[in-house]
C-alpha cells in the first residue's frame, strides 16, 4: 500500500545536469520535446474539463439567477437565493445535515484513531486480518449498504431489533422515528467509513519516528501522555485531511438518506443534497436547485477554510513542510 503513497517523495524529481544538445527539429522547448507535446497530452482533459466541468459550473450559476415557469426562462436576479433564506425546509435540511455531521464525523474519527493505534500495536494478533475486516465495508456501494441497513434496522422485526429484543431492549423504531432515523444513518455511515479513516491514520502513524516514543518513555511519560504528546501531534496532517474530507462528504450527503429513509420521517433526515435533488428532479425547479447547490458550495468553502485555519494555527511546526 505504501509503495504508491511514498514514491512521490522518495525520489524528488531531478533536473538534467546537462541540457540536451540542440536537435534537428526546431520549435523545441528547453526539455528537448516539441512545444506542443504537453498540450497534446492534456487535450482530452482540457476538452472534457471545459464541456463537463467549467461550463456546468458557470451554467449552474446562471441558472440559479433564473426562474423557469412553464418552459419560459426569465432572469430573476437573486430571487432564488432570497427565497432560500426564507425557506424553513432549507433550514431543516441544513440542521439535519449539521446534526449528522457533528455527531458522525467526531465519532467516526475518534474510533478510527483508536483502531489505528490498535492496528499499529505489536500486542494485537492477526493484524492483517483485522485491518481487512474493518476496511472491507468501504467497497460496498452506498445504495447496496443503504438497502442492507434498511433491512437490518427494520423497525419491526429487523435483525438488530431481534438481537436487542433477546436481551430485553426495544423494539426501537429505527427508521420511523425522527430521532432514531438520524441515529440509524450515523450508525450506517460509521460502519461504512471508519475503517477507511483508520487505514489513513495507520499509514501516518507508521511515519512517526520510533525514537520519539523511546525518548518519551525515557522521560517517564505514561502511555496516555505518549498518546497525547506524540501520537496525536504526529497524526495531525492525516487528521486535518480526514476532517476536511469527511466534512465535505457529509455536507453533500445524499445516497444514505435517499435509500434508508427517503428523507423521512417528516423530513427528519432530509439533507441539503436531497433537498437539491428534490427541487431539481422532482419539481424540476432548476433555478432553485442551482441556488441550493451554490449555497452548499459556499457553506463547504467557509467550513473547510475554518477547519484548515484551526488545525494550522495549532501546529506552526507544520508550516516548514
Amino acid at each position: 500500500m505504501n509503495s504508491v503513497l511514498e514514491t512521490p517523495l522518495a525520489a524528488p524529481s531531478t533536473r538534467p545536469s546537462d541540457p540536451t544538445p540542440p536537435r534537428r527539429r526546431r520549435r523545441r522547448a528547453t526539455g528537448g520535446h516539441p512545444r506542443i507535446t504537453p498540450y497534446l497530452f492534456l487535450a482530452p482533459t482540457i476538452l472534457l474539463f471545459l464541456a463537463f466541468k467549467l461550463y456546468p459550473y458557470l451554467s449552474a450559476f446562471w441558472t440559479s439567477l433564473t426562474s423557469n415557469i412553464g418552459g419560459a426562462i426569465t432572469f430573476v436576479g437573486a430571487d432564488n437565493y432570497l427565497r432560500l433564506l426564507r425557506d424553513p425546509l432549507f433550514y431543516t435540511a441544513l440542521g439535519n445535515t449539521g446534526i449528522i455531521l457533528i455527531v458522525q464525523v467526531p465519532l467516526m474519527l475518534g474510533l478510527a484513531v483508536v483502531l489505528a493505534v490498535a492496528f499499529n500495536s505489536l500486542l494485537l494478533k492477526a493484524r492483517a486480518f483485522f485491518r481487512m475486516a474493518y476496511f472491507v465495508p468501504i467497497v460496498m456501494g452506498l445504495v447496496a449498504y443503504g438497502i442492507l441497513f434498511g433491512a437490518l434496522f427494520n423497525s419491526g422485526p429487523g435483525f438488530v431489533n431481534q438481537v436487542l429484543g433477546s436481551v430485553g431492549i426495544g423494539p426501537i423504531p429505527w427508521l420511523i422515528d425522527p430521532f432514531w432515523a438520524k441515529i440509524s444513518i450515523v450508525i450506517a455511515m460509521t460502519w461504512h467509513y471508519t475503517g477507511q479513516s483508520a487505514i489513513i491514520y495507520l499509514a501516518q502513524l507508521q511515519s512517526i519516528p520510533g525514537e520519539l516514543y523511546e525518548a518519551a518513555q525515557v522521560d517517564g511519560a505514561s502511555a496516555w501522555q505518549r498518546f497525547w504528546n506524540v501520537t496525536i501531534p504526529g497524526l495531525r496532517p492525516a487528521l486535518l485531511l480526514t476532517v476536511i474530507l469527511s466534512t465535505i462528504g457529509t455536507l453533500q450527503l445524499f445516497d444514505e438518506p435517499y435509500v434508508l429513509t427517503n428523507g423521512g420521517p417528516d423530513n427528519a433526515t432530509l439533507t441539503v443534497g436531497m433537498y437539491l435533488y428534490q427541487n431539481g428532479f422532482r419539481y424540476f425547479d432548476f433555478g432553485y436547485a442551482s441556488a441550493i447547490g451554490y449555497a452548499l458550495t459556499l457553506i463547504i468553502a467557509v467550513i473547510s477554510l475554518i477547519q484548515f485555519r484551526l488545525f494550522r494555527e495549532k501546529s506552526p511546526k507544520e508550516k516548514k513542510r
Partner: protein, 281 residues
C-alpha cells in the same frame, strides 16, 4: 527474574484483551455481510423470521431466478460491467496523459490549469447535476453509456495522483530515450507508464469502484429501466410498493460480490487505490 515473568504475563493479558476487543468489533463489521448472504437464501416471507435465520436457507436460486426474470436486474448488471470497464480504461488514458503533462513538462498555462484541477477537487459535484442533465437532454444522450462515462473521465483526483507519481520518474530517463530517437508518445508509453504500474493499478480500481457504485448522477440521466446501472436498479426495486425482499437481498449481494472477490485478490491495490494521495501532503 520474577519481575520479567510478571512483565511477560502482563503483556500477554494486555494482548489478549486488545485482540478480543478488536475481534468483537470485527464481528460487528462483518456481521452485515454475513446477514446479507443468509438473507439472500430465504424467500421474502422468511427474511424477518423470528428467531432470525443464522444458517443458509434453500431459496437462493429461486430468488436469483425471480430477480432475473421478473426484473431487469440482469440487464443492469451488464450495463454496470460495460460502463465501469469502459470508464476505467478511458479514465486511465485521460488521467495518466494529463498527469504526465503536469509532472514532466513546463508549458504556458500550466499553473492555471493545475489550479483548476485542484479547485474542482474541492467543489461539490452536486452543483453540476442540473447543468449536466440539461447538456445530456440537449445532446439527446439520456439513457446512454456516454452520458455516464464522459463527464467524470478527467477525474481531478486521478490526474493529481498520476502527477504525484510521475514526478518520481527521473528526467534523465526521458532525455536518454529522446536522444535515442524515441518519439514523445513512445517515451510516454514505453518509459513512463511501466515505471508507474502500481499507481495505475490503484487508479484503475478507484475508477472502477467509483463508477460501479455511482448513484445520484446515473439516477438523474437514466430514465428507462433498460439503461439502469446496478445502484439505480436496486434503488428502484426497493422503491416499488411490493418489494420482494428475497430478490432485493439477492440483488444487493450480487452488486457487492464481484467487488468483494476483486478485493480479496487485489487487497493491496485496493487499499492503495482508495487511500492514494490521502496521506500525501
Amino acid at each position: 527474574m520474577t519481575d520479567a515473568l510478571i512483565g511477560v504475563r502482563a503483556r500477554r493479558t494486555k494482548s489478549l484483551v486488545l485482540t478480543t476487543a478488536i475481534a468483537a468489533g470485527a464481528v460487528l463489521m462483518l456481521l452485515p455481510f454475513y446477514w446479507l448472504i443468509i438473507a439472500s437464501t430465504y424467500p421474502s416471507s422468511e427474511i424477518f423470521a423470528s428467531p432470525p435465520n443464522l444458517l443458509p436457507g434453500p431459496a437462493f436460486f429461486d430468488n436469483l431466478g425471480g430477480l432475473l426474470t421478473d426484473t431487469l436486474f440482469g440487464r443492469a448488471m451488464a450495463n454496470s460491467v460495460l460502463v465501469a470497464s469502459i470508464y476505467t480504461i478511458l479514465g486511465l488514458v485521460v488521467c495518466t496523459a494529463a498527469g504526465y503533462a503536469f509532472a514532466k513538462f513546463e508549458f504556458w498555462g500550466k499553473n492555471v490549469m493545475f489550479a483548476a484541477v485542484l479547485v474542482t477537487l474541492a467543489l461539490p459535484s452536486q452543483v453540476t447535476l442540473v447543468p449536466l442533465f440539461q447538456i445530456m437532454v440537449a445532446l439527446g444522450w439520456l439513457d446512454t453509456y456516454q452520458a455516464l462515462i464522459l463527464p467524470s473521465l478527467a477525474l481531478p483526483f486521478g490526474i493529481f495522483l498520476m502527477r504525484q507519481t510521475m514526478q518520481a520518474v527521473p528526467d534523465e530517463l526521458l532525455q536518454a530515450a529522446r536522444v535515442d530517437g524515441a518519439g514523445e508518445f513512445r517515451v510516454f508509453s514505453r518509459i513512463v507508464l511501466p515505471t508507474v504500474r502500481p499507481a495505475l493499478a490503484a487508479l484503475a480500481i478507484f475508477l472502477f469502484l467509483a463508477q460501479w457504485n455511482e448513484f445520484v448522477y446515473p439516477l438523474v440521466v437514466l430514465r428507462t429501466p433498460e439503461s439502469f446501472t446496478i445502484p439505480v436498479s436496486l434503488a428502484s426495486l426497493q422503491g416499488i410498493g411490493t418489494t420482494d425482499y428475497g430478490q432485493l437481498m439477492t440483488g444487493t449481494l450480487l452488486s457487492v460480490l464481484p467487488i468483494l472477490v476483486l478485493f480479496l485478490f487485489l487487497q493491496r491495490h485496493f487499499v492503495a487505490g482508495i487511500l492514494a494521495g490521502a496521506v500525501k501532503q
